[in-house]
């Protein structure tokens, strides 16, 4: 992996939680293989930590307690907002 590619991959936000977990598993597998050199290991750890942070953030988004809304209420609010607007 080239230097610019590596920078780009670690800086890019994952498309989804699944994509992040999939990449995280790849990283762990690569690290477990023991074949990564020092530079690659440190880069992978950095990228992995960013992915863990992203995934933790996603889990936090749905971890604050279930919020129940009614479609009717949302539609009413929308109508009210459009009338005010």
């Amino acid at each position: 992996m080239g230097e610019s590619e590596r920078d780009q991959s670690s800086a890019t936000k994952p498309d989804s939680y699944e994509a992040a977990v999939e990449r995280l598993e790849e990283i762990i597998d690569r690290l477990d293989s023991g074949q990564a050199g020092l530079r690659e290991t440190l880069d992978l750890c950095k990228e992995g930590k960013e992915l863990v942070t992203y995934c933790a953030g996603e889990l936090d988004e749905v971890g604050e307690g279930l919020k129940e809304l009614r479609l009717d209420d949302l539609a009413t609010k929308l109508d009210t907002a459009s009338e005010v607007g």
Binding site: V21, I27, K67, D72
Partner: protein, 441 residues
């Protein structure tokens, strides 16, 4: 072309037969309709009304409707009371087309004249469901939803269900067990009557139109196929198939199979199962897994540095260790050399001693040689001198030696005279003799 068909003012389509009196035409129409084949129809009853002699209703499904009428006595013969012929009932009717031409005051009326009616049985509904299923599968409508991406961790889920029902409670419990705490948008709708399918369809479309909704669950509890028939509604199922948000159906119990199950992205047997399908990720397990990943990453990073720093440390200590090793080797060599040297000195001393001995021996021998020469000369001279004194030399000069019988020299006349026998020894031999007389000197 179109303009040429427009009749000129005052004349209506002059190329057509007629004009006929409308009453005549109406009666002929009645006759023609009554000659049409008699058939059976199945559908949902709506708009039931009654007169003194007959009952009116529409028989309807997702594709269309037909106005129907049945004489009350035929209705009684069928064993159906008024309560059975009600809105929402699925019925099978048999009969044929009919037309009432009306009269001077009465309005004409077209209807399907039912002569027999019965509530649709499970078999009728299954047959109808299979026909719909076959048609929609052939159109590829079952695959559209299944091709949609279902996020593992949706932030908002829409739910279409009855406001008061066990399905709602079970779905909530399932989501909470999953550890999911996102937004749940309820789209409440009736789930069992002729209004159900259109209301469910509208709720689904409204939920799908909301950008935050990433999956929609449609659920209701169990019942007969007739009870669940709204979820086999063709219009509703076509709507579901065309939605761009994945729909998860959980209608009825495990053995129930409705058409919405076929078109949905996922069909579940229970609301609890639907909760798991709507949130594929077990959030509680995912948190634990994420913690393990974080730990693995930390260990990998620290391990990589630690291993290499230990290796570097070992490399850094290498020269000193090598020096120590070489020093030890050198000391050993020194000890060996010293020991060898000591052994060499001893050997050399012994060797030198041997050499000295040899030298001395040789010197001694050399010294001894010179002495012998002198001695030999002296001996020679002594021998010469001795030989000069040897009796043989005297004998050679003409003397003779007198010896006794035993060879002892007899040096006096007395001794010779006393001996009985004597021997006279000359240089060239000896002779024996007997003294006869002794002469006095």
């Amino acid at each position: 072309m179109e303009e040429s068909r427009i009749a000129p003012p005052g004349r209506v389509a002059p190329d057509l037969p007629g004009p006929f009196p409308v009453g005549t035409y109406a009666r002929k129409l009645q006759g023609w309709m009554r000659e049409r084949a008699r058939v059976q129809l199945i559908g949902e009853v709506t708009g039931v009304g009654r007169s003194k002699v007959q009952a009116y209703f529409e028989l309807r499904d997702g594709e269309g409707a037909v106005p129907c009428a049945i004489w009350l006595n035929d209705l009684e013969k069928a064993g159906l009371e008024g309560a059975h012929l009600r809105d929402g009932a699925e019925v099978v009717i048999s009969g044929g087309l009919d037309y009432y031409p009306g009269g001077g005051q009465a309005s004409p009326n077209f209807c399907f004249r039912a002569t027999h009616v019965r509530l649709a049985g499970e078999g009728d509904l299954i047959a109808r469901l299979e026909a719909l299923r076959k048609q929609m599968r052939a159109e590829g409508l079952f695959e559209l939803q299944k091709q949609l991406h279902r996020p593992a961790l949706p932030r908002a889920i829409g739910v279409v269900t009855a406001e008061r029902g066990a399905a709602r409670r079970d779905l909530l419990a399932g989501l909470e067990r999953r550890g999911w705490g996102g937004s749940l948008i309820w789209g409440f709708a009736p789930v069992q009557d002729r209004h159900a399918a259109p209301a469910i369809g509208r709720a689904l479309q409204d939920l799908a139109a909301r950008p935050e909704v990433e999956a929609i669950v449609v659920t209701r509890g169990g019942g007969s196929l007739a009870d669940l028939w709204a979820f086999c509604d063709e219009t509703l199922c076509r709507t579901v198939a065309m939605l761009r948000v994945p729909v998860i159906s959980a209608v009825g119990h495990e053995r129930d199979s409705t058409l919405i199950d076929d078109v949905a992205a996922v069909a579940c047997s229970t609301p609890t199962h639907a909760a798991e399908a709507a949130v594929p990720l077990d959030c509680l397990a995912a948190r634990e897994s994420l913690e393990r990943c974080a730990l693995a990453l930390r260990r990998a990073g620290e391990g990589a540095i630690g291993t290499r720093s230990r290796h570097l440390g070992a490399l850094a200590r290498g020269p000193a260790r090598a020096l120590q090793r070489e020093r030890s080797k050198l000391n050993q060599k020194i000890r060996e050399i010293r020991a060898a040297s000591e052994r060499g000195l001893a050997d050399r001393a012994a060797s030198q001693r041997r050499i000295g001995t040899l030298v001395l021996e040789r010197a001694r021998r050399r010294a001894a040689g010179a002495d012998m020469e002198k001695r030999r000369d002296a001996l020679h001279r002594a021998a010469v001198a001795l030989r000069a004194h040897e009796p043989e030399r005297t004998l050679e000069r003409g003397y003779a030696l007198v010896e006794g019988d035993g060879g002892e020299p007899l040096t006096s006349a007395a001794e010779a005279g006393a001996a009985e026998r004597i021997s006279l020894r000359f240089s060239d031999g000896r002779i024996r003799a007997r003294p006869e007389q002794r002469d006095e000197a």
